[in-house]
């Protein structure tokens, strides 16, 4: 049976992990490669690297990092953040990323989804979308959730699927950092609307939150950062708990 995926997310700046990471047994917790290898050993199903580097030089460092991760890690990983050109995508995939995720770029130029799907295949094109509710309506936000748009979340993910996105990574700005659980109602609606996998992001606080997003949110994968980095939730225990609750999980 196809299993639900547990996806740790690492924020990267200038080739280093950004947020404090509370990992014993690592020589260098700031080294994304070591951290990625550790997560892989613990049973993470996939990894996401979010590049928050602003400068061009930093982006070259990211491409080098992608190659070092691909050398060491034998599970799939996605790279996102600041991707603005087909050339960026080519570089990251060529250096060893399995998938890339794009966000603002796709909102500004939706046709790039078609271009990327034709050139590289839908399977490696992840549409990341940040949204929050304004007057009860889910609106897409840009620039890491800072800039609101008038675009309806559900219209946008449907359009993105039609244009060639192979997967949706939905982050609820209302839930991100709250540790009160994922935006399961919106997730379930997206999951029913599209026929491509959906990754839940934003709000993970407890093991039950993951169980709920797979059951109620109908998510195919769940992404989290701090609960894993600070060992509030350990992946082997989480996966056992999910399995005990009857959720299809790789152990």
């Amino acid at each position: 049976m196809l299993t639900k995926r547990i996806v740790p997310c690492l924020d990267i700046k200038d080739g280093r992990t950004v947020k404090g990471v509370n990992f014993v047994n690592l020589r260098d917790a700031g080294d994304p490669v070591e951290l990625a290898a550790a997560y892989s050993e613990q049973g993470a199903d996939e990894l996401v690297f979010l590049d928050i580097t602003a400068t061009g030089d930093g982006r070259k460092t990211t491409a080098d990092l992608v190659e070092r991760v691909a050398e060491k890690v034998n599970i799939p990983f996605t790279v996102g953040g600041g991707i603005k050109s087909v050339e960026d995508v080519y570089t990251l995939l060529h250096r060893g990323a399995d998938k890339i995720s794009i966000n603002s770029w796709a909102v500004k130029e939706p046709k790039v989804l078609e271009e990327l799907a034709t050139q590289f295949g839908s399977q490696c094109v992840v549409l990341a979308v940040d949204a929050k509710q304004i007057d009860g309506k889910w609106k897409v936000h840009l620039v890491g959730g800072k800039v609101p748009t008038e675009i309806d979340l559900f219209d946008w993910v449907k359009e993105a699927e039609n244009k060639g996105a192979g997967e949706i990574l939905f982050t609820s700005m209302d839930h991100d950092g709250s540790k009160n659980g994922f935006a399961n109602e919106a997730l379930a609606k997206i999951s029913d609307m599209v026929n491509i996998p959906v990754i839940a992001s934003g709000g993970a606080g407890s093991m039950q939150d993951f169980a709920d997003t797979f059951k109620e949110g109908k998510a195919d994968a769940a992404l989290a950062a701090s609960v894993f980095h600070f060992k509030e939730i350990e992946i082997p225990k989480l996966k056992q708990e999910l399995k005990d609750q009857g959720i299809a999980i790789r152990i």
């Binding site: 199903d45 060529h94 590289f120 490696c124 192979g166 491509i196 996998p197």
Partner: protein, 195 residues
């Protein structure tokens, strides 16, 4: 040590396959040169992207006959395996015809497409699957599938049984990505390299 060549005809992410070989202590060579490919002890044939353009790339590199006539152990991965079949629904494309099979699109509302993530494999046959447990998890990313047949050496369900791996003579294929399938995938690559 045997010479492993990864056929590099422009398919994406061939580096991951090379790195997976390196993790097994093997320096595999990337090449599109027919002579280098013919001289290999083992051949790995990755694939990623769209079927008809990938077949065109193979043709442009004069690799069609080189692959069909290969006598050494040969492993196609993902689209590589699909291209070893007779016919691919994707782009209405003729394949290499090594396996007399068709490759069809997953259809219907029952499952999401692409089939993406870790799924279990069963009905495992040696030598490629030597040492693996039944129902081991491996990583898949694909929208088209090869139905189960007499050449199937591992099956997965999505929702019906399909070929997760194929074998005929010296030719092997994996629909999943052994290079991305953790220790299980590493074992499969190791089995292949030892052939």
């Amino acid at each position: 040590m045997s010479k492993v060549v990864i056929i590099d005809y422009g398919a994406g992410n061939v580096k991951s396959v090379k790195f997976a070989c390196e993790r097994l202590g093997l320096n595999a060579e990337l090449s599109n040169d027919p002579e280098v490919i013919k001289s290999a002890d083992k051949l790995i044939f990755p694939g990623q992207g769209e079927a008809s353009s990938s077949m065109r790339d193979l043709k442009a590199n004069n690799l069609i006959d080189v692959i069909k006539e290969a006598k050494q152990p040969f492993l196609g991965i993902c689209l590589g395996m699909q291209m070893m079949c007779n016919y691919m629904q994707e782009g209405n494309t003729d394949g290499l015809g090594i396996f007399p099979l068709s490759v069809d699109l997953f259809e219907g509302n029952e499952v999401k497409v692409p089939h993406m993530g870790w799924n279990q494999i069963e009905g495992l046959k040696t030598p490629l699957m030597e040492g693996l447990k039944e129902n081991e998890h491996v990583y898949f990313v694909h929208s088209y599938f090869v139905p189960a047949s007499e050449w199937t050496i591992a099956k997965a369900n999505y929702p019906e049984a399909f070929s997760a791996a194929l074998h005929k003579d010296n030719f092997y294929g994996c629909q999943f990505h052994p290079e991305k399938s953790g220790l299980a995938g590493q074992k499969i690559l190791e089995n292949f390299i030892k052939m």
